[in-house]
Symmetry: C3
């Protein structure tokens, strides 16, 4: 199944393409690697999912925030690559969770993003290496930020 068909099958509509704040690119392709900038959980209506896990929002809401970051990453990639079919596989994800010092379930939050890529790209192509940790703060008080890299087809 094509990726756009999968998105449709999962009833997923990509959010608007995130705008780069000017001094960076959202995606940079070099030698078959598509590096993408730290993306935030922007909703379809342009608003941002903000706040710290377990303080301002629940774990479940934070998981959805991480998934929303993934959707923004897909929107950026589709725009910059022209076609998501150019992606061969996920290489790596680095996830930052906005959380106080007593929060320890960052992997569950990050799974919101990882599960999306697994669903869309499948077992062979949607699973890469990953790191996730808690940070003292994120731009605009976003709940999650994810950056990483995909490998492209020849």
């Amino acid at each position: 199944m094509k990726i756009l068909e999968k998105l449709s099958a999962y009833n997923i509509e990509l959010p608007p393409v995130p705008k780069a704040a000017g001094l960076y690119k959202t995606v940079l392709v070099q030698d078959r690697i598509a590096y993408f900038s730290g993306h935030l959980p922007i909703r379809k209506d342009g608003t941002l999912i903000t706040g710290k896990v377990n303080l301002d929002l629940t774990l479940k809401e934070a998981v959805l925030a991480a998934r929303q970051v993934g959707l923004n990453i897909l929107a950026s990639l589709q725009y910059e690559l022209g076609d998501l079919e150019r992606i061969e596989k996920l290489v790596k994800l680095l996830g930052m969770v906005n959380a106080e010092s007593d929060f320890t379930d960052h992997p569950t939050v990050m799974n919101g993003c990882s599960q999306l890529f697994l669903d869309i790209f499948g077992n062979e192509s949607g699973v890469g290496v990953r790191s996730v940790y808690g940070v003292s703060g994120l731009p605009l008080n976003a709940t999650v930020e994810v950056e990483g890299a995909f490998f492209l087809k020849k």
Copy 2:
């Protein structure tokens, strides 16, 4: 000297191979680069070294935690690559230390991991670029997390 002989000479026994939590790979090889996920300081008996430096454990204990992360990375690489001799050199390490906002000696903690790789791979191959910083929290309250990449022989 072969790497396994060095491990033996240093009296190092690798811990059990860390299990990936399912939505990521511990190691991904692409074009001679072996990317590895954020690893945690899991002891040989399967328990995790937890807590914040200078609060729950001493600096010296945190250095040993970082070294333990390094051993877990080696265990993953040996399992995924089949043979640690395939490694040509370390490329980069990214280290996250679980610490409160008044802690400033993250490099000393990280040296526990860096020194291990220097001992095992030598001056030519065991020293790459590195970043280290304090985070508000880590998965399962681990003391240190390290991710990075090695370059493989042809």
Copy 3:
């Protein structure tokens, strides 16, 4: 215009080459990618810009700290590459800002570094992907740390 001429035109004098603390390299080149370690805002006189944004120093001072990190990165690259003209373009930057949990303007801080690279390398070569976030602490209580990678000419 050559990069050294641009530095001169902007009246920029590079700080002394930062010393690696021994267990890592400041720069590592592999296959046309120059990876650089996390750099700190060391002034020309060798002292470090320290403290947390909005607590120990102002936002404006933190922006200058990020710019100072960029100058240290350039000093390392010039030393390790021999010639900054070998750089084809910036690939990526990862920025860590030393800040309490209520700070949310990490992008403005990071722009201090990004603007420098844009000025020196231009629109085509000085803009890569980027991530930035707040951390609970940095080595030696530095205000900003930046690591990343440049792509080199053939």
